[in-house]
C-alpha cells in the first residue's frame, strides 16, 4: 500500500500539472469573486468563508477523474485487482494520494487567499483546521464517484453531477466552522460533524468504491 502511495505521488509530481492546476484554479476563482460582487471590504469579509470553501471544493473536483482513469486505461487497475492488495486498500490509498496532491496544497494556500477576500482575523486558524479536516472527505467521496464512472467515455461531466450533491454536508459544516470562527462563536459542533464525515467516509466509502471498481473491471 505504501508502495502504491509513493508511486502515485511520484506520478503526480512528474506529470507536473497535478498540484499546479488545482491551485491555480483556486487562485483564479478567488480573484474573480471581487470582480463579480464588487470591492467593498465588508461584503467580501462576510462572504469570504463560503467562497473559500466553495472554491476549494471546485478545485478538488477538477482532478477527480484522474484518480482511477489513467490506471484503468493502461491496465494497471486490472493488474492491481489480481494482486495481493485488496481493492478497498487501493481505493483508500488513491484517495489519500489525491488529498496529498490537491487537498493539502489547497489547505495551505487558503489563508493567503483569505487576505485577498479580507477574511476576519480570528477565522484564519479555523479556515486551516476546517480545510485540513474536510478536504480528505472531499477526496474520498470523489474517489467513490471516480470509481463509479471510471469505465465511461464521458465520465468527467457525470462525475461532477454525481459527486457535487454528496459534497453538500461537508461544505455546509466546513463553511460553518469558518463563519463561526470569524464571529467568535463556538465551533465545536460543526467541527465534530466535519471530523465525523471524514472518519466515516474513510471507514466506509473504500468498500463502496471497491465494489464499483470490481463491476467496472468486469
Amino acid at each position: 500500500m505504501i508502495a502504491l502511495l509513493i508511486r502515485d505521488l511520484r506520478l503526480a509530481v512528474r506529470a507536473g500539472g497535478g498540484f499546479g492546476l488545482g491551485l491555480a484554479f483556486f487562485l483564479i476563482v478567488i480573484v474573480l469573486v471581487p470582480f463579480g460582487v464588487g470591492p467593498e471590504a465588508a461584503v467580501l469579509t462576510r462572504i469570504a468563508p463560503g467562497i473559500l470553501w466553495v472554491a476549494a471544493l471546485l478545485a478538488a473536483l477538477l482532478s477527480l477523474d484522474r484518480i482511477f482513469a489513467l490506471d484503468f486505461e493502461d491496465g494497471s487497475l486490472a493488474l492491481l485487482a489480481t494482486s495481493p492488495l485488496p481493492l478497498e486498500g487501493v481505493a483508500l490509498v488513491k484517495a489519500l494520494a489525491h488529498w496529498i496532491t490537491t487537498g493539502l496544497p489547497l489547505t495551505l494556500a487558503a489563508p493567503v487567499l483569505g487576505f485577498l477576500l479580507n477574511l476576519d482575523g480570528p477565522a484564519y486558524p479555523w479556515l486551516l483546521a476546517s480545510l485540513a479536516l474536510g478536504t480528505p472527505a472531499l477526496s474520498m467521496i470523489g474517489a467513490f464517484g471516480a470509481a463509479l464512472t471510471v469505465g465511461l467515455r464521458r465520465g468527467g461531466l457525470l462525475l461532477s453531477l454525481l459527486v457535487l450533491p454528496l459534497y453538500v454536508p461537508t461544505l455546509i459544516f466546513g463553511a460553518e466552522v469558518v463563519r463561526r470562527g470569524a464571529e467568535g462563536m463556538p465551533v465545536t459542533t460543526p467541527l465534530l460533524m466535519l471530523a465525523g464525515i471524514t472518519v466515516g467516509g474513510f471507514a466506509l466509502l473504500p468498500f463502496a468504491a471497491a465494489a464499483a471498481l470490481r463491476v467496472n473491471l468486469r
Binding site: 467513490f144 463509479l148 464512472t149 469505465g151 465511461l152 464521458r154 465520465g155 457525470l158 453531477l161 454525481l162 457535487l164 450533491p165 454528496l166 453538500v168 454536508p169 455546509i172 459544516f173 460553518e176 459542533t189 460543526p190 460533524m193 464525515i197 466506509l204 466509502l205 463502496a208 465494489a211 464499483a212 463491476v215 467496472n216 468486469r218
Partner: protein, 246 residues
C-alpha cells in the same frame, strides 16, 4: 411457492397485467375526489387564506418524493443481494416518478411559502432538502443513462443509491443545522397535517391514497416497459450471431 417467484420477469408480467388498469382507475378516482373536495368544498384557513388548499398537493407529493427514493433503496438492496432483475428495473422505473414528485413538492412548497416569505424562493431547510433530493435523483438517472451494459448499470446505480441515501440523510441534518433559527415557525410541511382540523384532514388522506396508488401504477407500468426493453435487446443480441453465419 416462495414470494420471490413473483419477481421472475415472466411471472411478473403475468400478474401485473390485469392490475395496472385497475390501479390507474383507482388512483384517478381518489385524486379527482380528493382534489375536487379539497379545492371546492373546504373552507379557507383563517390565517393562511386559500393557500391552505395547496396542502392537498404538497403533502402527498412530498411524501411520495421521499418514499420513491426509499423504494429505490430497497429495490437496489434486493438487486445486490438476490439479483432479481425485476428489482433493478423497478428502481430504474421509479426514479423519473420520484423526480416528478420532487418537482411538484418543490413548486407547491415555494408557491405556498410565497405569500408568507414574500419571495418565490426561500432557503427554508425543508425546501432546500428537497432541492438536494432532486439533485440526487438527477445523478441517479444520469448514471443509468450513461452505462450501456444493463447489469453493470444496475450494479453501479444500486451502489450509488445506497451511498446517496446515507448522504441524503446527512444533508438533511446539515441543512437543518445550517439554517436553524432563520425561518423558525415558518416551515410548513408534514407535521402541519397533525394539527389540521378534520375538514382538511379527510380530503388530504384521500389525496395521499391517490398519490400512493398513482405511484404504484406508474412504477408497475414503467417496470413492465423496462422488462420489454430488456427482452427486446436480449432477443436482438441472441439473433445477431446466427444472422451472420447463415
Amino acid at each position: 411457492m416462495s414470494i420471490w417467484e413473483y419477481a421472475n420477469p415472466k411471472k411478473f408480467m403475468g400478474w401485473t397485467a390485469p392490475l395496472v388498469p385497475w390501479l390507474f382507475g383507482l388512483a384517478g378516482a381518489c385524486l379527482i375526489v380528493g382534489l375536487v373536495w379539497g379545492f371546492f368544498l373546504t373552507p379557507d384557513d383563517y390565517k393562511q387564506g386559500s393557500t391552505v388548499k395547496i396542502i392537498y398537493l404538497h403533502v402527498p407529493s412530498a411524501l411520495m418524493a421521499i418514499n420513491a427514493w426509499f423504494m429505490m433503496l430497497i429495490a437496489s438492496l434486493i438487486w445486490l443481494v438476490r439479483r432479481h432483475h425485476v428489482s433493478a428495473l423497478a428502481a430504474k422505473a421509479a426514479a423519473p416518478v420520484g423526480v416528478v414528485m420532487t418537482l411538484i413538492a418543490l413548486f407547491t412548497g415555494a408557491v405556498w411559502g410565497q405569500p408568507m416569505w414574500g419571495t418565490w424562493w426561500a432557503w427554508d431547510p425543508r425546501l432546500t432538502s428537497f432541492l438536494i433530493l432532486f439533485l440526487f435523483y438527477l445523478g441517479y438517472i444520469a448514471l443509468w443513462a450513461a452505462i450501456e451494459d444493463p447489469d453493470t448499470a444496475a450494479d453501479l446505480t444500486s451502489v450509488l443509491c445506497i451511498v446517496g441515501s446515507v448522504f441524503a440523510v446527512l444533508s438533511r441534518y446539515a441543512v437543518n443545522f445550517w439554517n436553524q433559527g432563520l425561518h423558525q415557525g415558518a416551515s410548513l410541511s408534514m407535521d402541519k397535517a397533525d394539527h389540521v382540523a378534520n375538514v382538511f384532514y379527510i380530503p388530504l388522506l384521500v389525496c395521499i391514497a391517490g398519490f400512493v396508488l398513482l405511484f404504484i401504477a406508474l412504477v408497475l407500468l414503467r417496470t413492465r416497459t423496462e422488462i420489454r426493453v430488456r427482452r427486446m435487446s436480449a432477443l436482438i443480441a441472441r439473433t445477431r450471431p446466427t444472422e451472420v453465419t447463415t
